[in-house]
């Protein structure tokens, strides 16, 4: 292994003073973000992810080829690194996870930014901006989220975090209410004012079900999840990212879908119940980037992960136009062979069902409205079942916390959540048998099967 060692103590005397050094404190970076009016939530630093099994080569690439001074987490007791202790290092390497945190100046001067083109034979898989992760509350929560960095690394973070969150809320409110930017249609974010349950859960007869999905593993392959959302505190949570970005959801689509499939029985305050499988084990696989884009290879890697973890229910509110793809069909078959069921959104283009939902081995979901008619946007053709898909209320990342969205993307986690409830009723209800049970118990709707499949999904 070739490493150019950094001095731990030199930085305190002569190190650069910019806010995006590797050793910058979160306080410094938050202040800098506030001063530049940046609401992108980027810290200014970058995360270089090494290819699988190429950590040593990646370290060599950064030190020998790029001439960076590196600090290595292995040099610290129990690999617990306080950022201010990395001195004048250009980058801090976390060998256990194959990632290097690179200071903004060091990255820029060496062409290592998120927009840089990476050679196919490079040991570096991707370079992505580092984002702030917001937390509400305890040091234990922070330790759980970060995994590596000790709470001491963010000495006195509370005031700045709360201030930054208030600023973000104010900016958002100004933009949508008085800044001349209309709120997105179908995505109106507002606080719920009534107790009870969402229309979708009521339509699927979830509130009257005695089932909770207890212990059933539900994989949601999407844009990740807001890991610090208080509605999910204490829940069994397994995460993985396949797009080179942290699992933390900066898009909102993934957090919304997970909320519907797995959200709590009784959210705090006056918020209505919006989640189906409130005792499920959540597997959040990030297969879509924070900009909402991806490629089939990343989605397949997420499907592979969900199957490897033997998740009986795999929810996929992702897709694209075009005919069935053989690789999605094969993945769906692999899931069924293992007693697992992949449930996917048909799509919102008012056109034939897209991929992967159009694969014969994957259950396709259409969207219906509050009046239980097919949503105008819902794709058609190969449709197995329907779910509530307009004005769906669910969780979104903090600081907003809750919001409404529409789409077959929202119908799909209703079906996935109900699938988890059915799976709880019998260990034999898995794979194709679970598929058939969902269809045989669906509420018939007076529309062609090409629009609504067997009807509206129902809880047991």
């Amino acid at each position: 292994m070739v490493k150019k060692r950094a001095s731990r103590s030199r930085a305190a005397r002569t190190g650069p003073s910019g806010p995006d050094r590797t050793s910058s404190s979160i306080d410094e970076m938050l202040l800098a973000a506030l001063e530049r009016g940046d609401d992108s939530f980027q810290t200014g630093r970058y995360l270089a992810t090494f290819k699988e099994g190429a950590t040593d080569a990646g370290i060599k690439a950064l030190s020998s080829v790029r001439g960076m001074r590196l600090a290595d987490a292995r040099d610290f007791s129990r690999q617990s690194v306080r950022m201010q202790d990395v001195g004048d290092a250009d980058a801090l390497v976390f060998p256990e996870i194959g990632v290097a945190l690179v200071g903004g100046d060091a990255a820029a001067t060496r062409g290592l930014t998120a927009t840089a083109e990476i050679a196919a034979d490079s040991a570096i898989e991707s370079i992505d901006p580092e984002y702030f992760v917001f937390i509400d509350g305890t040091e234990e929560q922070f330790r759980r989220i970060s995994g590596i960095i000790t709470p001491a690394a963010v000495a006195s973070p509370g005031d700045y975090l709360r201030g930054f969150m208030r600023a973000a809320e104010t900016i958002t409110a100004d933009l949508y209410r008085g800044g001349g930017i209309p709120a997105p249609v179908g995505d109106t974010e507002e606080e719920a004012l009534v107790l009870g349950a969402t229309w979708g859960l009521v339509a699927c007869r979830v509130p009257t079900s005695s089932r909770s999905g207890n212990g059933i593993r539900v994989a949601v392959l999407d844009t990740g999840m807001d890991l610090g959302h208080l509605d999910f505190a204490g829940r069994a949570l397994t995460t993985a990212s396949f797009v080179g970005q942290p699992v933390q959801d900066l898009h909102s689509h993934g957090t919304h879908c997970i909320g519907t499939a797995c959200g709590p029985l009784a959210p705090a305050g006056t918020t209505p119940r919006y989640g189906v499988g409130y005792r499920t084990a959540i597997f959040a696989g990030k297969v879509l980037s924070n900009s909402g884009s991806s490629v089939g290879g990343s989605v397949l890697a997420g499907m592979n992960w969900a199957i490897a973890n033997r998740c009986p229910v795999i929810s996929m509110s992702v897709g694209g136009p075009g005919g069935p793809q053989p690789y999605y069909t094969a993945a769906g078959q692999a899931a069924l062979n293992n007693g697992l069921l992949i449930i996917a959104a048909a799509g919102n283009a008012a056109s034939p069902t897209g991929a992967p939902a159009n694969s014969p081995t994957i259950m396709s979901v259409a969207a219906v409205t509050e009046t239980l008619v097919p949503a105008s946007f819902s794709n058609f053709g190969k449709i197995e079942i329907s779910g509530p898909g307009t004005n769906v209320f669910s969780s979104v990342p903090r600081p907003t916390r809750y919001g409404f969205k529409s789409g077959t993307s929202m119908a799909t986690p209703h079906v996935a959540g109900c699938a988890a409830l059915w799976a709880e009723t019998s260990p034999s209800l898995r794979g194709l048998l679970l598929w058939r049970r969902l269809q045989s118990t669906a509420r018939p709707l007076p529309f062609p099967a090409s629009r609504v499949g067997s009807g509206l999904v129902q809880a047991p």
Partner: protein, 80 residues
């Protein structure tokens, strides 16, 4: 810096060890990125002529170019 080559998804029948198939693909110029054992697929990069070559490998049932997926930007009403 070299430009990124076309990304391919190779689907296999599951009747032959994936590592053997991956080795044969490499011989034909395929740069293996991921071997997805649970779903019997291999992703990787290679030239535009790779598909025809890869289809000749025993156990390969399909070779398709990877396709982009887009659900729309954050907070967009235009999702998938």
């Amino acid at each position: 810096m070299a430009k990124t080559a076309t990304t391919w998804v190779v689907t296999t029948s599951g009747d032959r060890p994936l590592d053997d198939i991956a080795a044969d693909l490499r011989k034909r110029g395929f740069k293996v990125k991921k071997v997805l054992r649970e779903i019997n697929s291999i992703t990787g990069t290679g030239g535009a002529d790779l598909a025809a070559k890869a289809r000749q490998v025993s156990g390969v049932t399909d070779v398709s170019p990877d396709v982009p997926i887009e659900i729309g930007p954050p907070n967009s009403s235009d999702t998938w």
